[in-house]
């Protein structure tokens, strides 16, 4: 097998492929998803949707698939993982690629809750609702790369999808220490953290994980959450939801049949896992 890496969607992507030509094909797949789903590219399909005035919008087949997945994950997470929070995260300052965030601007938090739904290829949304597909699009790209047969293992910024029974994933805590090795095998694993993608705001700091109940960056005793599931989009949503559930996060994850295992790093450094999470000695 051949290992390679490239940069896409604002993060580093590591791929393991069987044939050399699959590296470029996987990179092209990620580029295509980013070109369609980025909210930072003015010409992307998502930017066109967000900038449109109409309440009902016809979207492309791939976009409809991603939005339908996002709607499903919102339901599964009791509304906590909501792709409709694009306006809220922009209002807190994350309105451009993370590398060029303006840390001098003052946040202007919004107060209106996002409302959106999918019906076939039609997106319906309330005025002011802006879609942010950052997390689900990255997970979807990982899933597509593996399910299409291009990649054996893909790791996009800690979101891992594998079809190799030998795949293992080291979970790294926010302090850079390895806390566990997971024998992932065939499946997906994702980690969400509030210690990444943080930026300064006047009087403090903000981060990318918005709590839909407060429309503000989440406050949680969990600083890093990892979930194992069948697909990357599920693992990514599960990890975010755990973090947003706070101290109930692990209990919530253990009760979800689609989450095979979960691990959480507490703010003071403690690490807990559900019984379902398989671990191996490193």
């Amino acid at each position: 097998m051949i290992a390679a890496s490239f940069r896409a969607m604002g993060t580093s992507v590591q791929v393991t492929v069987a044939r050399p030509e699959d590296i470029a094909a996987t990179q092209a797949l990620f580029e295509e998803v980013e070109r369609r789903c980025s909210r930072f590219r003015p010409s992307s399909e998502l930017s066109n949707l967000n900038n449109a005035d109409a309440a009902d919008l016809l979207v492309s087949e791939p976009m409809a698939e991603v939005l339908q997945i996002a709607a499903d994950l919102r339901d599964r997470t009791d509304g906590l993982v909501d792709a409709g929070l694009g306006a809220a995260v922009s209002a807190w300052g994350y309105d451009r690629s993370f590398d060029i965030i303006d840390e001098t601007s003052t946040p202007a938090p919004i107060k209106s809750q996002p409302v959106w739904s999918m019906s076939g290829n039609c997106l319906h949304r309330s005025p002011g609702t802006r879609i942010d597909l950052g997390g689900v699009a990255k997970g979807w790209a990982c899933d597509q790369a593996v399910e299409s047969g291009l990649a054996v293992i893909v790791n996009a910024g800690g979101d891992v999808r594998s079809r190799s029974s030998e795949a293992q994933v080291d979970i790294i805590d926010p302090w850079g220490h390895r806390v566990a090795r997971v024998p992932l095998g065939v499946g997906a694993l994702a980690t969400s953290s509030t210690t990444r993608r943080r930026w300064k705001i006047p009087g403090g700091e903000a981060h990318h994980l918005i709590d839909p109940r407060t429309l503000a960056p989440a406050v949680s005793p969990i600083v890093s959450a990892t979930a194992v599931a069948a697909t990357t989009v599920e693992a990514e949503a599960g990890a975010k939801a755990m973090l947003l559930h706070g101290s109930d996060g692990l209990a919530w994850a253990a009760a979800q049949p689609w989450i095979k295992g979960a691990l959480a790093v507490w703010e003071e450094g403690s690490v807990y896992a559900t019984n379902g999470l398989q671990l191996v000695a490193a």
Binding site: D159, Q168, I172, W175, L250, S270
Partner: protein, 105 residues
């Protein structure tokens, strides 16, 4: 003349030292008399300072029905990462293509 002044100086010194000694003794006695009040004050301050901490419950994970695995328990915040300087004299083995890392994004 000298004989006449010497006793005066001596008397003055004795009087001065006596005054200092008495003042010192009074201060000691006074401090001992005030001590119980200060102890009361210390107790009161301690009680006030620890009250909020006693009310704040330590955030622990809610226990899942099928139990919880404690991988690491750290009641105090871990120290900041230390910078380790390492001289690599020979390239190590290439990373395994089947082992990934996940730290979040």
């Amino acid at each position: 003349m000298i004989r006449k002044r010497f006793p005066t100086i001596r008397t003055t010194r004795i009087a001065a030292w006596t005054t200092v000694a008495v003042a010192w003794a009074v201060a000691i006695v006074g401090r001992q008399m005030e001590a119980p009040a200060q102890e009361d004050l210390v107790v009161a301050e301690t009680t006030r300072a620890t009250a909020p901490a006693a009310e704040t419950t330590t955030t622990m994970p809610t226990l899942p029905e099928d139990g919880l695995v404690v991988i690491r328990y750290t009641p105090a915040p871990p120290p900041p990462p230390t910078v380790v300087r390492q001289v690599v004299v020979q390239a190590g083995p290439a990373p395994s293509p089947t082992v990934s890392t996940s730290q979040g994004s």
